[in-house]
């Protein structure tokens, strides 16, 4: 851990919140991609059968 | 074209929404501000230009969704779109009618409300002038926003979200002109810049608004 001195709170919160936001958008992207893909696969399968 | 304008005008007057509501809203906003910030006249005088401009802007916003909504609902907008007049001209006339029913009364009422807020005497001329030059842009930008949201069921809130950021340059220059004028500085630069924005808006936005209308009428 580097010595952050008296600004530790600011620097750490900047990194913390930024990483949280990045993780949030990545997760949202991946989860929605997966959900849409599954539903599309199901719909395609229904069409194939019917 | 002129028939269209007068028709819009009579409709607005008959419905009573245009003139009355906007002005009443402007008045209420101005009356509420001292309750919020305190009755210190010096302080009120300092923030008066900004308050008056923001109040006028919000009052303008109130009646925007009516610009096209009624005509869209009863189908006359379709007729206008297929009529031999260019849709850009229709948009222009609609914006003009909106300005006459809201922007113009607001401009005329502003000095009275300036008294309430203890605006410096030097500021009144600039206030009226800047509103007269700036509110046409507000109406035109508003007509563009109304054209974007005309087909939507609950377009009103979305309309404000779309239009308010577009109002930023006009608001900045308008309020700046008044506050400079009120404090005795030279106010022509912001005024000229704002007039430039208004002219550019009037020249270009009818095309964007007409395009948006065509998309929505498809």
């Amino acid at each position: 851990m580097p010595e952050l001195g008296k600004y530790a709170v600011w620097v750490l919160s900047a990194y913390g919140v930024s990483l949280a936001l990045i993780v949030a958008i990545v997760l949202q992207t991946v989860l929605r991609a997966r959900r849409v893909r599954e539903r599309l696969d199901k719909a395609e399968a229904r069409r194939g059968n019917g | 074209m002129i028939r269209l304008f007068s028709r819009d005008l009579t409709l607005a007057v008959r419905a009573g929404g245009g003139f009355g509501l906007g002005l009443a809203f402007f008045l209420i906003v101005t009356v509420l501000v001292p309750f919020g910030v305190g009755a210190d006249t010096a302080q009120l005088g300092r923030i008066a230009p900004g308050i008056l401009w923001v109040g006028a802007l919000l009052a303008c916003l109130l009646s925007l969704d009516r610009i096209f909504q009624l005509d869209f609902e009863d189908g006359s907008l379709d007729l206008l779109a297929t009529a031999p007049v260019p849709l850009e001209g229709v948009v222009m006339m609609k914006a003009l009618a909106h300005w006459v029913t809201t922007g113009l009364p607001l401009t005329l009422a502003a000095p009275v409300l300036g008294l309430l807020l203890n605006l410096a005497p030097a500021g009144y001329g600039w206030l009226v002038l800047s509103l007269a030059l700036g509110t046409p842009a507000l109406s035109m930008i508003g007509a563009f926003g109304a054209a974007l949201t005309v087909g939507l069921k609950r377009g009103g809130l979305l309309l404000s979200l779309l239009v308010l950021p577009l109002y930023v340059p006009t608001l900045i220059f308008g309020a700046e002109a008044v506050s400079r004028g009120a404090s005795g500085q030279a106010a022509t630069t912001p005024l000229i810049l704002m007039a430039a924005i208004t002219l550019g808006t009037l020249a270009l936005l009818p095309f964007a608004a007409a395009a948006a209308l065509r998309i929505n009428l498809r």
Partner: protein, 245 residues
């Protein structure tokens, strides 16, 4: 061999096939660059003699601010392509980019605030740059809201494209207006953030890597989201057909 044109990628099938191959590589590269750039910046760079350890915020602040603006530019270009050439992938890519742009704008605003607090003694100053970013944020919100509000996908694509173009002009106007306004109010109280100009190499290289990481992250996210939008639209079409019987 047939000459490949860039427009080939505007075909959804072609786009899906290509991105299917490319996307994992870009994602991995983005992750590597981000981790290397940020770890390098956070752990292995010295403190600035004036700013102390807060200088480490630069590795988040500058790349995110850069990408927040570039995301809007990308949306503008994609909107123009959609309006002129009617390529669906283009419209969907613009839609896909907006939430990513919002995220980067938020990061830039937040890191700016926590950097400004210890350095300038205030969380927020109505400095031209900060204000412009806040306005950019509002434009993003309006754009996304319009996409969500309009039901017909083609109408939504058209309307948001028009909004994006008009919005770009007004965003630019606001930038200059804000400059004017602030100088008019607070003479002399300029908060310059132009550290990029005289930044030392030791900060510069990790910053470059971090910027590369943010760019790649943006590309990866937009590609993935565009793929999702294409699938969602196909799903929508299938469901409509099912309902029709």
């Amino acid at each position: 061999m047939k000459r490949m044109s860039l427009w080939e990628y505007a075909n959804p099938k072609k786009f899906m096939a290509t991105t299917n191959v490319v996307l994992p590589w870009i994602s991995v590269l983005a992750a590597i660059c981000l981790v290397v750039g940020l770890v390098w910046g956070f752990f292995f760079t010295p403190d600035d003699f004036r700013q102390g350890s807060t200088v480490k915020i630069i590795y988040l602040h500058v790349p995110s601010a850069l990408m927040a603006i570039n995301a809007w530019l990308m949306m503008l270009v994609a909107s123009l392509i959609w309006l002129v050439r009617r390529h669906h992938v283009s419209a969907l890519a613009a839609r896909a980019a907006a939430p990513v742009g919002i995220t980067f704008t938020l990061i830039a605003l937040f890191t700016g605030a926590v950097w400004g607090q210890p350095m300038w003694g205030t969380w927020w100053a109505w400095d031209p740059r900060l204000t412009s970013f806040l306005i950019l944020f509002l434009f993003y919100l309006g754009y996304v809201a319009l996409w969500e509000a309009v039901e017909n996908p083609d109408t939504a694509a058209d309307l948001t494209s028009v909004l994006c173009i008009v919005g770009s002009v007004f965003a630019l106007l606001s930038r200059y207006a804000v400059n004017f306004w602030n100088q008019g109010l607070h003479q002399g109280a300029t908060l310059s953030m132009d550290k990029e100009e005289n930044i030392a190499d030791i900060f510069w290289y990790p910053l470059l890597v971090a910027i590369a990481g943010f760019v790649l992250l943006f590309v990866a996210l937009v590609l993935m989201r565009t793929r999702t939008e294409i699938r969602a639209r196909r799903l929508h079409a299938l469901q409509m057909r099912e309902r029709m019987g």
